[in-house]
């Protein structure tokens, strides 16, 4: 079954006695754009952080091309360099310029030369429309600009999968659009993406599959049209109804 890029099996995570995730099962194939939706506290972000091993899962397996990366003796760093992540709070390196932010991973982790890393960084920054700002420091940028740089930084590593952890939640409404546009362009390019989001329009229109989480379990998943148009579970209906009225 190694044709899946990622296969999550019976994943569980508990903080002490509090079970945040229970028995999560799903697969990610090349080209998938999976939206994970659900109420706050339903475990969406924890799931994403477990997939990137920023949280250590308490049970279950995460198979990356058939290898369990959640077990002992696996280099988390190497795995993470293949699975990019974009955070809610951007997490750009404050001590570096935009260009250096996008180069440091390529140079230190992938061992690329300076010229190559620079060309690559500028190319991806151009893609997200941030190329003019290569000499700016993160503190000099707006939220939307920072998030676009963060996406370029992740892309510059040429990851197989890109994880987005509520990429637009910390942004002012007028900046959400520019980030979503970049993400939509990536989806159209065939990038494999896993997006935790509260942007229902994005989940419905851009993703190839939607996953609804409720209280630490996957409540319902399927094609976005089906999930949004004809939800099968009462919890899903309640959740979506709240978004429609809002």
């Amino acid at each position: 079954m190694s044709e899946h890029i990622l296969e999550i099996r019976h994943l569980g995570k508990a903080f002490g006695a509090h079970e945040v995730l229970r028995d999560i099962d799903f697969t990610v194939d090349a080209g998938d754009v999976i939206s994970i939706i659900g109420a706050s506290g339903s475990g969406k972000s924890t799931l994403l952080r477990c997939i990137n091993l920023l949280e250590t899962p308490t049970s279950g397996e995460i198979l990356y091309h058939g290898t369990n990366v959640a077990g002992r003796g696996v280099s988390a760093a190497k795995y993470r360099s293949r699975v990019g992540m974009v955070f809610q709070s951007f997490n750009l390196f404050n001590n570096m310029t935009v260009l250096e932010n996008c180069m440091v991973g390529q140079r230190k982790v992938l061992g690329r030369g300076k010229a190559e890393a620079q060309a690559q960084a500028v190319a991806y920054l151009n893609k997200v429309g941030m190329a003019p700002y290569i000499y700016a420091k993160p503190r000099q940028l707006s939220g939307g600009q920072k998030q676009r740089v963060a996406i370029a930084r992740a892309l510059a590593m040429e990851p197989e999968v890109l994880l987005f952890d509520e990429p637009t939640s910390a942004l002012d409404p007028e900046m959400v659009g520019e980030v979503l546009a970049v993400m939509q362009a990536l989806a159209n390019d065939g990038m494999t993406m896993l997006v935790v989001t509260h942007e229902m329009a994005f989940a419905r229109d851009v993703s190839s599959r939607a996953v609804f989480m409720h209280e630490g379990v996957i409540c319902e998943q399927g094609a976005p049209a089906a999930l949004f148009g004809d939800p099968q579970r009462q919890e899903t209906r309640d959740f979506l109804a709240r978004f429609r009225s809002a």
């Binding site: 002992r72 760093a77 997490n91 404050n94 001590n95 290569i134 590593m157």
Partner: protein
């Protein structure tokens, strides 16, 4: 008023007579304080980094044991050297080593002893400052670095330490200033720093107060100069407040013959001509002379 005049006269007299001794003392004090602060910082950085190596349940038990042991050792070092007076530490180490090794180990050079003692002391303080500096950095920075596949060492080296260092510069300055003053206790093992010179000089002529005044003024000058220089360093580390937009197509540059940003190419925005052009465009909306 004539008391002040008398004091001034005495100070001039002392200075003209013992100028060389004072200067030698100042020089020794500065040298010792500087070297010891530097070494102390290195010790502190090492301790701080070793102290913050993450230790998860997935690590092999042996690694976890060593990490725990390391933390305990550093903790003991910090507490012992932070919790005892430096003047006592110097006596303890200077006379303790020959005592236990039957004179096989002793300090032939007073500099070695002084630098060792002051560095170890500074290191103990710096270890805590560095730890504070590291945990003051937003955990998101670490996560951002980990998410692109950096190891702990790389994360520390390229992301956390540069920022932590910036934050602990005031602490380093603090330690340097403390060292400038506190190296005066090194007279106890016979180190001729600035204050030791004072003791020699007044031993000859009993002019306690004028000599002390000279020392006060000189110490204050040294520390004021140090804080001024450190402010400059901080400003320099913060980098420029402004940035320039790169207004030519960045992609063409990277794909073309230029490795961007090559100095002295027309694309280099540091280039004087280009900067001038940008300035004029911003100011007049066009190049001067263009119609």
């Amino acid at each position: 008023m004539d008391k002040f005049a008398k004091l001034g006269q005495d100070m001039v007299l002392l200075w003209s007579k013992y100028k060389l001794m004072y200067w030698a003392g100042i020089w020794n004090t500065l040298k010792l304080a500087f070297i010891a602060t530097l070494i102390g910082c290195v010790i502190g950085l090492l301790c701080g980094v070793l102290n913050t190596i993450p230790c998860t349940k997935n690590d092999p038990p042996l690694k976890r044991f060593f990490l725990k042991l390391l933390r305990v050792v550093i903790r003991v070092y910090v507490e012992v050297f932070r919790g005892t007076p430096m003047v006592l530490q110097s006596v303890f180490i200077y006379y303790g080593l020959p005592y236990f090794s039957n004179n096989a180990l002793r300090f032939d050079n007073i500099w070695t002893a002084a630098i060792l003692i002051v560095s170890i002391n500074t290191g103990a303080y710096m270890a805590e400052s560095v730890r504070g500096g590291i945990i003051s950095i937003d955990p998101g920075q670490t996560e951002g670095a980990k998410a692109i596949g950096m190891t702990h060492v790389q994360t520390m080296l390229y992301v956390i330490m540069p920022q932590a260092l910036r934050n602990i510069i005031p602490q380093i300055g603090n330690n340097y200033i403390i060292n400038v003053k506190d190296t005066s206790v090194m007279f106890i093992i016979g180190f001729t720093d600035f204050f030791a010179q004072h003791r020699y000089i007044v031993g000859v002529n009993n002019m306690y107060f004028p000599s002390a005044t000279i020392e006060m003024i000189a110490y204050l000058t040294l520390t004021l100069a140090a804080s001024f220089l450190l402010r400059l360093v901080e400003k320099w580390m913060d980098g420029p407040d402004n940035y320039e937009l790169v207004q030519v197509d960045a992609l063409t540059m990277s794909a073309g013959t230029y490795t961007h940003p090559s100095r002295k190419t027309p694309f280099d925005e540091q280039n004087k001509e280009y900067r001038e052009r940008t300035r004029q465009l911003l100011k007049h909306g066009r190049m001067r002379g263009d119609r």
